[in-house]
């Protein structure tokens, strides 16, 4: 099966600041992938490159076998929900959808109407002055109505109230997951999506530092609590999140069983206890890992 998204050594700088330093990853069709990374790591930049809204300095990008070529045609087969949805203020919701329908070849009016209904949108609502939630919903309709195979969701629940967020998370994303769509989602509250994720990409330092199958996280991530032997130290740079250090007592989160086994077998601990982690918690700690929470 050919990957829906392939990124090979993608680099992008803004002036002297290198944001992406060689992103390499691929996503199989039907997978829901969470993109974890701290602020400014380049998640939005990566999305824009995937959408052909921004040119990569080097490397190759393929979405559904198509490379960004500057024509914007790639966006016909991608649904995009931006972090801050924006539409022309002089339009109403209905006019926004009508305008988009004239640009997207695969626009499905029936589907758009159903989404409008499901999300409780009023087509007559003027965009100027509309709430963040309304704009978010409109963005969802715009992203989904042309029935794309790949979705890029950049903080899709940002600004949505709890009810809407639940709607989006449980209803829309689940439906897309079931429909064998490929989703790449950046979300600071990734734990909300725990139920639908297949994989998590950890973006750090401008590269995909690690890829974590969610099943592995679910079954192998654990909390380790132990007392270090006198004079023993943990090797630096281990992919663990340090939760607490109280003299020789350490509390760590590890995401792979093999690492936990390695620590247990290292002889550095007088005692070491393992406690399984809920997936939501694992994702939360992964984000901390991406934010520099690793053990030094």
């Amino acid at each position: 099966m050919n990957p829906a998204i392939v990124l090979t050594d993608v680099r992008r700088s803004f002036g002297s600041k290198a944001v992406l330093r060689g992103v390499t990853a691929s996503a199989l069709p039907g997978k829901v992938i969470g993109l974890l990374g701290r602020n400014g790591e380049g998640k939005t930049t990566l999305f824009k490159i995937l959408l052909d809204m921004l040119a990569a300095d080097s490397g190759s990008v393929q979405v559904l076998g198509q490379s960004p070529d500057g024509t914007g045609s790639l966006r016909q087969s991608v649904g995009y929900v931006p972090e801050r949805p924006a539409f022309h203020g002089f339009m109403t919701v209905g006019e926004v959808l009508a305008f988009r329908s004239s640009l997207f070849k695969g626009w499905h009016a029936g589907k758009a109407d159903k989404l409008v209904q499901d999300l409780g949108l009023d087509p007559a609502t003027p965009i100027r002055g509309a709430s963040k939630g309304t704009l978010g919903k409109v963005a969802w309709v715009c992203a989904a109505a042309h029935d794309p195979s790949v979705f890029l969701l950049d903080e899709p629940t940002s600004g949505l109230d709890a009810l809407v967020r639940e709607d989006v998370l449980n209803h829309l994303i689940g439906e897309l997951h079931d429909g064998f769509k490929t989703l790449l989602i950046a979300n600071h509250r990734m734990e909300e999506l725990a139920g639908v994720l297949d994989e998590v990409w950890l973006l750090q330092g401008g590269v995909i530092r690690s890829v974590h199958p969610v099943e592995t996280l679910r079954t192998q991530a654990c909390r380790l609590t132990g007392r270090l032997k006198e004079g023993a130290v943990l090797p630096a740079g281990l992919p663990v999140v340090s939760l607490r250090t109280d003299g020789p007592v350490l509390e760590l989160v590890v995401f792979e069983r093999s690492l936990a086994d390695m620590l247990a077998a290292s002889g550095s601990f007088e005692s070491l206890e393992r406690a399984p982690l809920a997936l939501g918690e694992s994702l939360k700690y992964l984000l901390r890992l991406s934010e520099g929470g690793r053990h030094d």
Partner: protein, 671 residues
């Protein structure tokens, strides 16, 4: 792109409606203001319409371009539009198209309102004036100006994301292009022949707009996707944006350079009225004839007078005085410093030099070819414009408010002031009276049946005519076959016409009878031959020995020389002549005529394109040579063509050639 254009139309509709209302509101406002000042409402209408046409529309184009360019770059527009499945090129192109549509709609509104309110505009629009070259050029230039101002403002504002600065930059870039083309076309309007600019202007326009669109395309990709391209891409975009302005400036500089380096044939005498023309007077006087047809007089743009031989040897007669560009603008209509030249009977040359900033009075120079010319007089007070021959006397005409108010003065002795007299009658009558008083011209009787010549010593010669000539007309002499005689058209008793030649021995002979008019004005060639037209289709030829040849039908000659489908222009069809001049398949009267007759062989020039030799007795085409291609802007044979003894000079608008009687062409260089 269409959807995007629609979106942009909607985005700018407030601005559009605002501008339309401002325009409509300004009309009654201006009318009221002028009415209050007791100048009449129409003056207000015209002033405000002139403002909107000349200044308002270009400002609107800049406003739309700059606001749309900056708007497209604005963060809100970027966020709303960049995720859409269209290319940056489409976005930018659609925005420009929408702006252009708005500007053109406003232009149409202004134009139609002008047509409703202003009688002058109505006449321009609906009375066929649109077909005129000048109006077409104005509209083309206006459309280009609007397009280039809009595009450059859009590009500048889009590039820097700032409407006001972008508008200023766009106005500078587009305004430079439009200004250079306006100046160039203005020069062409004044110096038609010497500053041909239409092709250069069209070339500049053809370069400007595609280059601007290319810049927009590259810029859109750069601005939207921000690829790593560096200063080379920036330079390319800047170059493409300004290429139109650079091309227009280069075109203008080229035209101006050509203009200032150009040489123009200086035709001696005048040709205001064919029947009193002094153009060929030199052939009446052997002294003048010996010199005047051995070369050609050329005046340079910078005011010099040059004598050039068929071999291309140049002898400066009057020195040139280079002038600055600003001086050119100040003296646009009085640029030709060499205002008039005239041969005297001895072969000397008189030259009237117009004033300029360095010397604000007319100067009269005199000299002989091959000898230095000298300043004869400074003519303070009046504004002479023409050297004329008034019988045996040479003089000057000066302007008056009406033709009768003009003044005349004989050429004064060296250094003396001219003694001006008011004409008190039409210029032609005044001049002919001089010819008559000198005994050189003859006058028809009131019944047109006798021609009388009175010499100053009191002798009288009277010819009784076998028909009726124009009543009381004065007839200038014609040189033919070594004789000075009088040629005039007679209406015969049978209702037909014929050319009457009144010879010095008192005899009258009639020739070339015709039902529809005869040649009453014979053009004299340097070899002593003469020729005239009938109906624009028949040539009447007289050999240097005075032998009158049978009428020569031009139709078969034209078909043989120019092609079977050649159309023949008739007399008086002025419009056709203007449209068809230079066309390959129409024989036109301008540029067609006889240049030499030897025995029964006649050398004819057709349309200034072909030199042919025909057997005048049979009309058979004997030889045919293509002449150098000339600019179709050169409508006037006075500055195109000069017949000399051994051939003729042809000014193509770009170069000067000499063609001898064997058809050999000699390139005498850029002119």
């Amino acid at each position: 792109m269409i959807e995007y254009a629609k979106l942009e139309l909607r985005k700018n509709r407030v601005l559009f409606i605002g501008m339309a209302l401002t325009f409509l509101g300004s009309i009654p406002f201006a009318a009221a203001m002028t009415a209050l000042n007791r100048q009449g409402a129409l003056a207000g209408f015209n002033a405000v319409l002139l403002f909107w046409t000349i200044l308002g529309l270009p400002l609107i184009a800049i406003l739309f371009g700059a606001s749309s360019g900056a708007g497209l770059r604005a963060e809100t527009a970027q966020e709303a539009e960049s995720p859409l499945p269209v290319s940056p090129r489409c976005r930018a192109g659609g925005a420009v198209a929408a702006c252009l549509a708005h500007v053109l709609l406003l232009g149409m509104l202004i134009l139609l309102t002008s047509a409703v309110i202003s009688p002058a505009w109505r006449e321009t629009l609906f009375s066929g004036a649109l077909a005129s070259t000048f109006v077409r050029a104005f509209f083309t230039l206006t459309l280009f100006t609007l397009a280039t101002l809009l595009l450059s403002s859009f590009i500048a504002a889009y590039a820097i994301g700032q409407g006001i600065v972008g508008g200023v930059l766009g106005a500078l870039i587009g305004g430079t292009a439009a200004g250079a083309l306006s100046l160039g076309l203005g020069l062409q309007a004044v110096f038609e022949v010497r500053a041909a600019f239409t092709t250069l202007a069209l070339f500049s326009m053809a370069v400007s707009l595609p280059a601007g669109l290319f810049a927009l395309d590259r810029l859109a990709a750069w601005v939207e996707r921000r690829p790593k391209r560096g200063w080379r891409e920036g330079f390319l975009i800047a170059l493409a944006t300004t290429l139109g302005s650079l091309a227009a400036c280069a075109a203008f500089a080229h035209a101006y350079h050509r203009l200032t380096r150009s040489l123009t044939i200086a035709a001696a005498g005048d040709a205001f009225y064919p029947w009193i023309s002094t153009r060929n007077d030199d052939v009446l006087f052997p002294g003048a004839r010996r010199v005047s047809r051995k070369g050609v007089l050329l005046h340079s743009f910078e005011g010099g007078l040059i004598w050039m031989t068929p071999e291309g040897d140049r002898a400066p007669l009057i020195p040139a005085r280079p002038r600055s560009f600003t001086e050119l603008l100040g003296y646009l209509y009085f640029w030709d410093r060499i205002e008039s030249v005239l041969w005297d009977a001895d072969g000397g040359l008189w030259v009237l030099v117009a004033p300029d900033q360095a010397d604000p009075v007319h100067q009269l120079w005199h000299g002989w070819i091959g000898r230095p010319f000298s300043l004869h007089s400074r003519l303070e007070g009046r504004r002479p414009y023409q050297l004329v021959r008034r019988g045996s006397e040479l003089g000057m005409l000066a302007w008056g408010d009406a033709t009768e108010d003009g003044s005349y003065a004989p050429i004064p002795p060296r250094g003396a002031r001219p003694r001006w007299v008011t004409l008190g009658m039409k210029r032609s009558d005044f001049l002919l009276r001089g010819w008559e008083e000198a005994g050189l011209a003859a006058r028809l009787s009131a019944d047109g049946r006798t021609l009388t010549r009175r010499t100053p010593d009191g002798r009288t010669r009277r010819w009784t005519l076998p028909g009726k000539g124009p009543a009381a007309a004065v007839v200038k002499p014609t040189a033919l076959g070594g004789q000075t005689l009088f040629a005039l058209q007679l209406r015969l008793k049978d209702g037909g016409y014929a050319l009457a030649l009144c010879r010095p021995d008192g005899t009258v002979t009639t020739h070339w009878p015709s039902a529809d008019g005869a040649s009453y004005w014979l053009e004299t060639a340097p070899d002593g031959s003469a020729w005239g037209w009938r109906n624009g289709l028949t040539l009447h030829l007289a050999a240097p020995d005075g032998a009158l040849l049978p009428p020569l039908d031009l139709e078969p000659i034209a078909r043989a020389a120019l092609g079977e489908k050649t159309r023949l222009e008739r007399w008086g069809n002025r419009l056709l002549r203007r449209e068809a001049f230079g066309a390959g398949r129409t024989l036109t009267r301008w540029g067609t005529g006889a240049v030499r007759i030897e025995g029964t062989r006649a050398w004819l020039v057709l349309n200034h394109r072909l030199l042919v030799v025909v057997d005048a007795a049979t009309g058979k085409l004997l030889s045919r040579w293509e002449l150098p291609a000339y600019s179709d802007a050169r409508r006037y044979s006075d500055t195109t063509f000069h017949i000399a003894e051994s051939g003729f000079f042809l000014h193509t608008g770009r170069r000067l050639y000499f063609i001898d009687w064997a058809g050999t062409r000699r390139d005498l260089g850029a002119a």
